[in-house]
């Protein structure tokens, strides 16, 4: 039974020396990341924190968009709600950061359930358009409630001096916040991918009628996936808001965030555990490199590279690498057999 369970999951098990080397490298990399703040420049820490943030957003999107196959184009709504919950509670109600963070997570879950129940009935393009509209609508609401949200002029979290409710954690602090959140998102994804819940989401992705006929409560599973995605995204937005100190609706509900999380998950590999992380790391560093070296052209080049990646790696980097490895091995073995080497 244990053997069949191991075979059924798509997690690479270290069954070969190469596998153990990978695990060792992973552990060494993790140790390095923990120790990094001592070694690296503050500005680079900030960049790394941003990479972790996008990796978490892509992993959160992957739960609803990758596993369940419901491509949300409005996940930024959870990001913005999380950020504004923390900012409003800290600036207007004098809360400290940690309880505000908990409420931000709860707001993400609640909103995902309320929004998911009606719109998760829509499939394909219709779902994408509906989520996009909700996110855009929410931004307008936030802009038009200046007494609570500061409106278009933004809202500032008291971060220094006597008014600060929680002292500002600085670049090192936020680096760790984002690192921990990324690890949580990875652990959640890993758990989901092996669980009955994960199987039900994959079944829904591949054939929703067939899933329902097998006794899967598709409504409940989809709403749960959306809520989990909303929770992680709202927590990310909450930490981001505190890091930025002053936040604006146009930034926190920016469609650019949605596009980036979708593209990172898709290029890395939807429905996989590490795909979204690979996509986020690759695209963030690429974007940074282009910005520094091609100031004028960087968005054009970035866009072109994304288009090429989607055309040539339709299944994502992680899946394509796996296929390449397995086909190479077969060809090599065939060659050995054919030539009796």
């Amino acid at each position: 039974m244990a053997e069949s369970a191991a075979r059924s999951t798509r997690i690479p098990q270290p069954s070969s020396p190469a596998g153990w080397i990978l695990v060792g490298l992973g552990a060494a990399g993790f140790a390095y990341l923990l120790y990094a703040p001592v070694l690296l420049l503050e500005s680079f820490l900030r960049t790394l924190g941003g990479v972790f943030m996008f990796a978490t957003l892509a992993l959160a999107w992957n739960i609803i968009g990758g596993f369940a196959g419901y491509a949300s184009f409005g996940n930024v709504v959870f990001f913005g709600l999380g950020g504004y919950t923390v900012a409003t509670l800290m600036a207007k109600a004098g809360w400290t950061f940690w309880p505000a963070l908990v409420v931000a997570g709860a707001v993400g879950v609640l909103f995902a359930v309320l929004m998911g129940l009606p719109i998760l009935r829509l499939r394909g393009h219709y779902f994408a358009i509906a989520t996009l509209s909700v996110a855009e609508g929410m931004r307008e609401i936030v802009v038009n409630m200046p007494s609570l949200t500061g409106g278009g002029a933004g809202i500032t979290i008291p971060a220094v001096g006597l008014e600060a409710t929680t002292s500002y954690p600085g670049n090192t602090g936020f680096y760790y916040f984002f690192l921990i959140l990324l690890l949580v998102a990875l652990a959640v994804t890993w758990r989901v991918s092996r669980s009955r819940f994960g199987y039900s989401l994959r079944a829904i992705h591949q054939d929703e009628d067939s899933a329902a006929a097998l006794g899967i409560n598709t409504t409940r599973a989809k709403v749960a996936a959306f809520a989990l995605s909303g929770l992680l995204t709202a927590l990310t937005g909450a930490i981001y808001a505190f890091q930025q100190v002053t936040i604006y609706p146009n930034r926190l509900f920016s469609i650019e965030f949605t596009v980036l999380m979708v593209v990172m998950a898709v290029i890395g590999g939807t429905g996989t555990i590490f795909g979204p992380v690979v996509g986020a790391v690759g695209l963030q560093f690429l974007s940074e490199y282009l910005r520094q070296n091609y100031l004028e052209l960087h968005t054009v080049l970035f866009g072109a590279i994304i288009i090429l990646a989607v055309i040539f790696l339709p299944n994502g980097i992680v899946e394509s690498a796996r296929e390449l490895r397995s086909t190479k091995r077969i060809r090599f073995l065939d060659n050995v057999k054919a030539n009796r080497l």
Binding site: R196, S200, A213
Partner: protein, 252 residues
């Protein structure tokens, strides 16, 4: 014999068309009931209404003494009714074994772990003769195996009532014989089975009772032999002129 499934005046309208019209039937415990009828007779719509994929416009569905009219598909499935789809609907990115395991994982009352479900799946695959393809993807299977997989998914749920929507269509005669044997052995194990089929020979061979649907209505009902020689049935299937010719031929 006790009744396992009963429909009472079941009706489903699509706009002005009554796809299923006032159909009242009973399916007895541990029997095999065949549903036949020409294309568009309402057979698949009937299954969709019974299993909750479509809401009925009127009428009731009673399963095992409980009114399940208009229940959601997963609730009907968990109550013990499993079905196959006329056009096979496998989960294309999962292995054959994982496909079947999903039935066991979420089926009636047996909320089983992933590992236990995979073990269950192996037993079901053995039974339908798909063990050797356990690690294949559904897309790699020939049509007969695709149909077997569809059946295996339904069986893994350990249902009390099995609704088979054209599981024999497109099969070769030898494969049809296999399916007939399988249905009989499932009946022996205590299952109640509703078979929808175009293959007359198969229906007549396995059914205890045959129900004929025509233009959404129940046209005839009875033991296979009676149905095979029923004038109205021949007419519905083959047209008035042919029925007349058969009759005249029989007289002469």
């Amino acid at each position: 014999m006790t009744t396992l499934l009963e429909t009472d005046g079941l009706t489903r309208r699509f706009g002005g068309l009554d796809a299923v019209s006032d159909v009242s039937v009973t399916v007895e415990q541990n029997s095999v009931v065949g549903f036949i009828g020409p294309n568009g007779a309402g057979k698949t719509t009937f299954i969709n209404v019974v299993t909750g994929f479509l809401k009925p416009s009127a009428g009731r569905v009673v399963f095992d003494g409980n009114d399940v009219t208009g229940n959601r598909p997963w609730d009907v499935a968990r109550a013990g009714v499993s079905r196959t789809f006329q056009i096979a609907k496998p989960f294309r990115d999962l292995t054959v074994r994982e496909n079947v395991a999903l039935g066991s994982m979420f089926g009636p009352g047996n909320s089983r772990s992933v590992a236990a479900s995979l073990t269950d799946a192996d037993e079901v695959l053995e039974r339908v003769g798909l063990s050797e393809r356990a690690e294949a993807r559904p897309g790699e299977l020939p049509i007969a195996d695709t149909k077997r997989l569809e059946l295996a998914k339904a069986l893994a749920m350990k249902p009390r009532l099995l609704l088979l929507d054209e599981v024999m269509a497109g099969l070769r005669p030898a494969e049809i014989d296999n399916s007939i044997d399988l249905i009989r052995s499932l009946q022996k194990d205590g299952l109640t089975i509703v078979v929808i089929e175009h293959v007359m020979k198969a229906i007549l061979a396995v059914s205890d009772k045959v129900i004929v649907l025509h233009e959404g209505k129940r046209l005839a009902e009875g033991p296979p032999k009676e149905i095979a020689s029923d004038d109205r049935v021949i007419e519905a299937y083959l047209g008035e002129r042919y029925a007349k010719r058969v009759k005249e031929g029989g007289d002469a």
